[in-house]
Symmetry: C2
Subunit: 98 residues, 2 copies
């Protein structure tokens, strides 16, 4: 059985963002979220990455919000269960960006 | 070579919406768009449909705006070239909903 996600400390968040430069800290409805924004070469490149997002999401049962039009992609990520950024978000980003 | 898309008449739009009940007429920045909103059983069902959206988009080079979180999906569609609803949008919807 999976462990309950625990909130990330400020230092853990900083380390994660330092390591994965395409991810930023943002706010949504007053709560912190991780945000990813990228313009790919074309739709094929963007959608290949979206497929990876889907596989990671489903494999750890943690689903990002996905927005796409043609080569543009935005992802928003946080943990609904705790309304915070947790070990679950870190796991998602780490798996996706490998 | 593909024909240039031509704007749909009001009657053509009505017929399309009559036929494909999950698609509605909406406005964005004062311009008409086709909008699709659906809640699927789960992410696997939603993403399977998104994959179909991607294949149709790429096959006719006409890309919808995609928004998804878990089982929820929104699509927005119009023809950038003409800033209107055209034969291209009709082709997209028809292929997707087959």
């Amino acid at each position: 059985m999976r462990e309950k996600p625990t909130s990330l400390s400020e230092e853990e968040i900083e380390n994660l963002l330092d390591h994965y430069k395409e991810w930023k800290l943002d706010k949504k409805d007053g709560k912190p979220i991780f945000k990813f924004e990228k313009e790919f070469r074309n739709f094929i490149e963007a959608f290949s990455f979206i497929t990876k997002v889907a596989l990671v999401s489903e494999s750890i049962n943690h689903h990002a919000e996905i927005w796409n039009v043609y080569n543009k992609l935005k992802l928003e990520l946080f943990t609904h269960e705790t309304s915070s950024l947790t070990t679950k978000d870190k796991e998602f980003i780490t798996l996706l960006m490998k």
